[in-house]
């Protein structure tokens, strides 16, 4: 008897999460490169003993909007938390947290249920490195960006412009529509400055048609 009571009280924290039961608390999904938004749903049911009142759905990012299909779930009700993620310029693996804030029956205690959406947003064109740097006074030698097309269709560079005078650049096509190298060299490195290359392509997806590659001549950071 004592043992059973002990096990019961020790195990209580593990089950104290309110009356809602989620089929999944973590969702993984992917988007296609042309998507502007991704929608997803967390399904749940009220397996508790009281009606559950939804107080709020908090999100970790202004890029996310989320709401439940009802504000009160009776015992046995099934529910949906529907969320929409605005992709914008996000790429790669994005982890976005949501918190469902609810109240069990007439209780004043608030339950918070954490949910996680893991979104894989494919990039179409990757530029490596993201930033080319020279130090002030460094030898003025050529450095290179690599532009790789990861899209299913080939993408071609139509034109490149440099935001700064005093830099020489050239484009080398390593594999047509798939791999390019952009070589960049400052005429001199006597002054700190920032600049960028605007790379215009024929990518069918408008938001990926122009890419930027950044460079700088940097001096030591102030302490």
């Amino acid at each position: 008897m004592h043992f059973l009571l002990t096990v019961f009280f020790a195990g209580l924290p593990l089950v104290a999460s309110g009356g809602l039961t989620f089929s999944e608390r973590n969702i993984e999904l992917s988007s296609s490169p042309s998507d502007e938004k991704v929608s997803f749903v967390f399904n749940f049911s009220n397996d508790g003993e009281n009606a559950v009142h939804i107080e709020d759905v908090n999100v970790s990012c202004a890029c996310l909007s989320a709401k439940t299909d009802k504000s009160v779930y009776a015992v046995g009700d099934k529910g949906r938390l529907e969320a929409v993620f605005a992709i914008g310029s996000f790429t790669g693996l994005q982890r976005k947290a949501l918190t469902l804030v609810s109240r069990d029956g007439d209780s004043k205690e608030i339950d918070r249920t954490g949910l996680l959406a893991i979104l894989n947003i494919p990039d179409v064109i990757t530029i490596t490195p993201e930033l080319l740097q020279w130090s002030v006074g460094e030898k003025s030698e050529e450095k290179v960006f690599q532009l790789k097309v990861t899209h299913s269709k080939p993408v071609h560079i139509k034109g490149v412009t440099c935001s700064r005078e005093g830099f020489e650049f050239r484009v080398v096509e390593k594999k047509k529509g798939r791999l390019y190298e952009l070589y960049l060299k400052p005429v001199k490195t006597s002054k700190p400055m920032l600049g960028l290359l605007k790379i215009d392509t024929d990518c069918e997806i408008l938001k990926h048609r122009r890419k930027l590659a950044f460079f700088s001549i940097a001096r030591k950071r102030r302490s």
Binding site: F9, G88, L212, F215
Partner: protein, 149 residues
């Protein structure tokens, strides 16, 4: 002896439950709370205001454009990933580049908002700005200070 063993058993079971929650629960609380502790790359408003007095800071607003339009810190530039970072950056790039020697301070909705940290990373690692900080407390602190409507 029997009571002592039961106490030990209770302690072991509750510690195990606590550790399981700490390592696996998505909403676990921190083990300690130190409100004065700054995360790496964070800065408090008091420190920034010293720079503002000398005209030596660039404000970056990482909130959505609609929030920025409602009101922003005087002279702040809008940059976020939600609405295409590069598209927002291009029109203001020359101005930012000309002020690249100054510290950049990024703010968004709150301490829980990850947008400012992400924009700070992009400014530092991609654009090449040397000194970029995230404002601790976000727009709430600025509102309390009367710098945001």
């Amino acid at each position: 002896m029997r009571i002592f063993l039961q106490c030990v058993l209770i302690a072991v079971l509750t510690t195990t439950a606590t550790l399981c929650i700490y390592f696996f629960h998505p909403n676990r609380p921190p083990l300690y709370f130190d409100p004065a502790r700054l995360a790496e790359g964070e800065v408090e408003l008091d420190e920034v205001l010293k720079w503002v007095g000398k005209g030596e800071v660039v404000w970056i607003d990482a909130r959505p454009g609609a929030k920025y339009a409602e009101g922003h810190v005087e002279g702040a530039f809008l940059l976020n990933e939600r609405e295409d970072f590069n598209a927002l950056l291009l029109p203001i790039y020359a101005e930012l580049a000309n002020r690249a020697d100054l510290p950049f301070v990024v703010y968004c909705g709150s301490d829980l908002c990850a947008a400012s940290a992400r924009v700070a990373d992009l400014l530092r690692d991609r654009v090449g700005i040397a000194e970029v900080f995230v404002l601790k407390g976000g727009s709430k602190i600025l509102r309390d200070a009367g710098m945001l409507p």
